[in-house]
Symmetry: C2
């Protein structure tokens, strides 16, 4: 009865994409989900975070609409109303995903918790129905994701000590909040809650926010948070000592793999903390088992999961033929304004690099959109003039970064002005690139740069 070509564990971006692609290729598929369809991304990650961020952005746009000559009055914001809208959007998207899975692709959606019986047999436990049954599959794609990591002695209690999952479902804005972790999620949470009136303290163990990001971007984000009223603490290892001062303590200090699958029974090799080891074909050490997305621990990013999901599906069905690339992977942080960056994966091997920078204050489009805060920074290999990296902080940087990604991905050595619409913010990429040579026509020439 429960026999499939492929069983996919998890319906987040990795599992969803793997299941659909495999079905497109003609395979009979089951997707097994222990919680809501859509996984972390849809239910407690990308989508709700960006919806709340967009709400804040809209509020700020209304408050600044006098820049277009408008007079507006905004009634006091009721946070619960925003949450209702967020949940309605998530429900709509989830319904769309379930339609794609079941109606369009004849995929069986099975609710329950999975453990391996052997490399081809899964035991699925459905708590609500109080039943267990077996699913047999020729191939298995594991996309079980990650969950928020807890900190010793500060276990999540769902009330005061919370993870991002609970934070995204608060019905009202707390008076104050301590956020532990100055990575992307911590910064996004600080931005949203402080933007809606919470007194936020953001504590980071390292000596700066986003320790792996360009220091100029990291510092700009810190300053913007300070201006927004967030108390930013860096090199801070004792913030929790004062946890009783806060209404909420939000811990966003890393993520832990969802590997309660008894994967060892199937003989699957894991590495530190329980992430599953995979080769470049997204295959585990067990031939018929693949793993994609967060659980494989490469980049904990939805689009990496989607990419790996599609690759694993193709490889599982056609034999290993497509390898992951990971040469160009952009990242974005939704502070206010948002920042994005992308660099070639072998960036560190370039020794003689020049930098260009273009501020949005010099962009006509930034004037038009009243979005003059921000800049684009570009790293260029001096010898070949090849662009190697872009960092963007400012409006729409999460869309602009895709243009930068394609430039780097293609190895283009020149950005042609006429390929970029004017007036757009995208022009700033070209201007930053040309500035690396002192050749940007929209800026003063730097005295120390002249490699025409």
């Amino acid at each position: 009865m429960n026999k499939y070509d492929i069983a996919v564990i998890g319906s987040g971006p990795g599992g969803f994409t793997a299941a659909v692609r495999a079905a497109q290729l003609g395979a009979k598929i089951a997707i097994i989900e222990k919680s809501f369809t859509g996984g972390t991304c849809l239910n407690c990650g990308c989508i709700p975070t960006k919806f709340l961020w967009q709400s804040l952005k809209t509020k700020q746009k209304i408050q600044k609409s006098y820049e277009y000559g408008f007079k507006t009055a905004l009634e006091p914001v009721i946070f619960a109303d925003i949450i209702i809208k967020k949940d309605r959007n998530i429900a709509n998207i989830r319904k769309g995903m379930e339609t794609i899975l079941s109606s369009y692709n004849n995929i069986d959606i099975i609710n329950g918790t999975v453990s391996f019986k052997n490399k081809n047999t899964l035991i699925v436990l459905n708590d609500s129905k109080n039943e267990a049954f077996e699913v047999f599959a020729n191939k298995v794609i594991i996309a079980s994701g990650t969950k928020p990591s807890a900190i010793k002695d500060f276990a999540f209690d769902g009330n005061k000590i919370i993870s991002s999952t609970e934070a995204l479902n608060l019905k009202e804005i707390p008076k104050n909040m301590l956020i532990i972790g100055g990575g992307a999620i911590g910064i996004e949470m600080a931005t949203i809650f402080s933007g809606f009136g919470c007194q936020v303290t953001l504590a980071e163990y390292e000596n700066c926010l986003l320790p792996n990001e360009d220091s100029e971007i990291s510092e700009k984000i810190r300053k913007n948070l300070l201006i927004q009223g967030v108390d930013v603490l860096t090199s801070c290892d004792n913030a929790l000592d004062n946890s009783d001062k806060y209404e909420k303590v939000l811990i966003v200090a890393g993520r832990t793999p969802n590997n309660d699958l008894c994967s060892e029974i199937a003989g699957i090799k894991t590495v530190k903390k329980g992430f599953i080891e995979t080769n470049k074909f997204c295959q585990t050490n067990i031939d018929n088992i693949y793993a994609v997305g967060d659980i494989a621990g490469k980049n904990l990013l939805a689009y990496t999961a989607q990419n790996e999901g599609a690759i694993a599906a193709e490889n599982a069905i056609k034999g290993n033929s497509i390898a992951t690339d990971n040469f160009i992977v952009p990242q974005a942080v939704f502070a206010m304004p948002q920042s994005s960056s992308v660099k070639v994966s072998d960036f560190s091997k370039y020794k003689d690099t020049v930098f260009g920078k273009f501020p949005f204050t010099a962009s006509g489009r930034a004037f038009i959109e009243n979005e003059r805060a921000g800049f684009v920074k570009c790293a260029v290999d001096k010898a070949t003039k090849k662009p190697l990296a872009f960092w963007i902080i400012g409006a729409h940087s999460d869309e602009l970064i895709s243009t930068a990604s394609q430039i780097l991905k293609s190895g283009m050595e020149h950005i042609s002005r006429e390929t970029i619409f004017h007036p757009s913010l995208s022009e700033s990429l070209l201007n930053a690139y040309e500035d690396a040579f002192g050749k940007c026509t929209e800026l003063a020439k730097k005295k120390d740069q002249n490699i025409f």
Copy 2:
């Protein structure tokens, strides 16, 4: 006294970029402008149009902010207030451009009307000072631009029969307006004026709006204008018969070269209507004279002018070494929502093409931004799977199109999912591309498409 390495005629995007690039290369430059610094683009083209469009967009965002749970009240819009803000932004940008020219690059800005005395000597007439003088230059770069074309028997009178220049400076919204010309400018004007309450009739001679655009985009824009309340007339050659019914008649039926330069005295060859003929180095038939932007008549687009300006400057100083390319030139039309498109210049030579399409209603980010109107369409060469063209209608399409341009420019044969941030609208490009093969994981598979 008035001796220069290069004299640049016109300070729009082409002239400005040419002058600055030439100065960066060490040349002594004069830029001669008969009106305001910045030319059509800044003063009566791209910038004011997009500012008014952005004002309308902001108004709509305020009115739809209930989608985020907000309650807002917008006081009645006073159009004159928007115009004041627009003019202030233009003045700021103009000041910036003049600083770049004179302070950063030591370029002499000369005000006056130019005519050629010979190929190295220009006569400049400054009307306000009632003086004429000569400027001598080794090289000349002509960037004199274009102006709105008039229609026989309906000369612009600056009051009732107006061009886009006057329209962008109206202090109040007319009760009704007849717009002659359903190209990009006509559509943008119809969008803006109708959006702020004017009863607009838009008349186009051809049988559709934007006759050179993809018919699906053109039709979508027509429908959106109708929904907005614009009366759209196509295959219409007699709209002016009823001109007495309208408070304003706006004529946007093409543009005419600003060639009152006595260029024939210098022996410069012109083609139909007075556009100046140039070779691929942006050089005219006279060795020391280059022409760029609208006056050279290739694409009447600001970014083509900028590109040609930079190329002409390099060639004028270093000898002809850089050729124009024009392989990839995106376009955008600011209807509501805006549309953009880009295709490889040899698009028509591909005979076996498949199409993919992705609606914004299937994009998570479109939900987040409450921008679910729109789609991306992609044309792919069936044999090589190479993307050949993208058409986008929807929010931010003017920025998204730059990513499409880079994909086409580089000749990439594959768009990698992990190069595009999630959740973004940019993902729609990939989804439309994959849909061409029935491989988009976010859509139903089309029965007639399966070329895996």
